[in-house]
Symmetry: C4
Subunit: 233 residues, 4 copies
């Protein structure tokens, strides 16, 4: 019996959403599922094609970055995931993709303004874009420092990672998270669509002020507020 089976399954299912939703080509992308009680995560192995991926390939890691179980090397981005699990309370899934429009905003080093309710349904703030990682940080430990860069961006701008479950790393691409691996990859797909809509809006109008705050808040609260009435409860 594999004591990590259900965690591996959760990670596997979420990883398979990446090719299904066309969020990355080839092996570019990874999702992890986190078990906060046992303080372990299951993550995609590095460089394995989605078509060949099996549940048992998922690599189980602890929060020190040591392998707990698995034959393969974990995703090269594992340390970034670990920093997010360590610092952001309540999250249990992290996703990294190279989805096209999100990468374009990250390459343009622009935060994505709240232009409509599709964005506000998921997040009341602009999607932040970090600075480029510094050379010093990169040389220290690139993947860990990428996690630290995300955390520093949220802290310096006083952003709440529960309200804004996504970020663009400048020159690189998106990281998203959520209460489960499935939620984190859902946020990756949402982010890509928000980025595409915002891109098109910017071409249609060079005078974008963004959605009034009362509409933003209303849409967020419909889905996520104390009196939320979207969905089946």
């Amino acid at each position: 019996m594999d004591p990590y089976k259900s965690l591996r399954e959760e990670a596997y299912e979420a990883n398979m959403e990446i090719p299904r939703r066309a969020l990355a080509l080839y092996t570019w992308g990874n999702v992890s599922a986190f078990d906060r009680q046992r303080a372990i995560l299951a993550i995609k192995p590095s460089g394995v094609a989605y078509e060949a991926l099996k549940v048992s390939d998922m690599v189980v890691m602890d929060l020190e970055g040591k392998k707990v179980d698995g034959k393969l090397n974990p995703s090269s981005d594992t340390k970034t995931h670990i920093v997010l699990y360590r610092v952001f309370p309540g999250i249990a899934g992290v996703t990294h993709t190279h989805s096209t429009y999100a990468v374009a905003w990250a390459q343009a080093r622009r935060s994505v303004p709240v232009l409509g309710t599709t964005h506000a349904d998921h997040c009341t703030h602009p999607i932040p874009c970090t600075e480029y990682i510094s050379e010093e940080a990169l040389k220290h430990d690139y993947e860990q420092e990428t996690g630290n860069l995300i955390v520093a961006t949220f802290r310096s701008q006083q952003l709440d990672p529960e309200e804004i479950p996504m970020v663009l790393v400048a020159g690189h691409g998106p990281f998203t998270w959520g209460a489960s691996a499935a939620k984190s990859v859902y946020h990756a797909a949402v982010l890509e669509e928000i980025c595409k809509m915002a891109y098109l809006t910017g071409v249609l109008s060079d005078d974008i002020k963004g959605l009034p705050a009362y509409i933003v808040q209303k849409h967020y609260d419909r889905k996520h507020g104390a009196n939320a009435y979207y969905g089946q409860r």
Copy 2:
């Protein structure tokens, strides 16, 4: 025997066009089918994934917004649908999506000019875009007032909802309608394509005057006029 079976089936089939035609991701979109004689509508339940949707999940509502039959909560946009059924004569289907190009025009708060015959085949006027909903209206009853906003836009501009079966709600997205649920979702797909074509045209030319009125009228009349000769009659 379910006395609402055929209405539910009509709503279900039309809702399933949303993922088939890629008019929204996940659960973002809803179609209702209206029985004017019985003054009831069948609508998608809120937040249920299309892959899991069943005919019996469709929620039957009356025009007061009360549930007539069904186990699930109706779409959170139900009140908007009800306003349109109450005010616009002859319509029997309403669709709301977050299709990408239609949302981009709604976010840019621009009406879509009549640039070609693809547009004129379906509608002789620009697709109107509302103002942002006011804070007062939003606080009163957001979804009902979204319906009222659409109605007010048509009245103040003296537009005929039978001739223009579609609207963009500023900062939000498209609502479309028609003589059946199927027609309303057809109009949602048409609108998305018109919005994409108009977007591309605007990039290709910054001097868009639009199609001459006599061509617009001719194309509309070929399909919808008293002497229409398009299709099989």
Copy 3:
């Protein structure tokens, strides 16, 4: 025995390429196959969905625009096809679509310059765009005069319809033709791709001079010249 069976099959197969290659939504598009010896054409019936289309639905027409065989009404664009068969020598197929990028260029009323070898492989000239049809012509006989407008555009600019098997009708969309129905719909797919490539190129560079004439000619001759060496001969 249906004496028009093979002509109908040719038309049917070519029509089915329209949805397969995403050249039009719903019923917006039509292909005809022409038998020059019998002076008859088989064309898609008007307003019939591609999923429901059968070989036997194809309508057989003569060059006077009279129905020779078939139960359904022919495409409302039939007269445009007939003009092209009457005037352009050697063609045996005509296609009309509303493909997105070709429509955008037609709506912008711009000819498509020869920017690369993808274009030159098929045609050595810019793809012409007509003027808007005049009100007088439209009132006389819209579809026939659309054919006349295409012919007049080619004559006034001294273009050879065999070398340029495609045109954009201003504010409307593309018509393409060829030595068979299959070739005409091939040209419709080629045109859409050329239009997309030219659109993107225009965004990347505002100083497009176009491919030098000697490269244009070489690529065309590789495929279509007296000493062509592309393909299997």
Copy 4:
């Protein structure tokens, strides 16, 4: 027994990636697989549709451009492939496509700057774009001189074809290569995605300086450096 069977299979499999990954319409594209020891290559036959393509159709050629085995004519671009095999050490696969965004950059005659890690993961330099081929070279031997043009571009700019496994031929489109036929078509898909991301980034920002050199180098080294740690080794 076919002594070229495995080489043909390698070429066939790589060619079939072109339609699977939508890198070209119809027959526009070709991949070859090279056996450096025997100094022969297997290449797609000219003008044969991918749906009809069989392993045994692959044409075996030597480095003089003479057919070694096969019934069909080889791709008209065969001489370009041969030049690259002759001059670039270590490569064993070449791919040519007409993928949309790569062609747009080639038509705009622009090199693609390194804007993000998706690019840097594969190549540390801008993707070079050649000059237009000269009329003299074209008249001498178009396909061979296209190969020479690529080689001259790399030499004059002192570029290493192992580090930059891709090029845009001005007004034409992309050629890519790699240590196998599969790698070369992988690079064709990567190039298309890089070109799309760079296109979108350019629209979002008119002040693109590009990724700092230390990030570029780090990403390349993660995958390709002496201490690479991406993937399973």
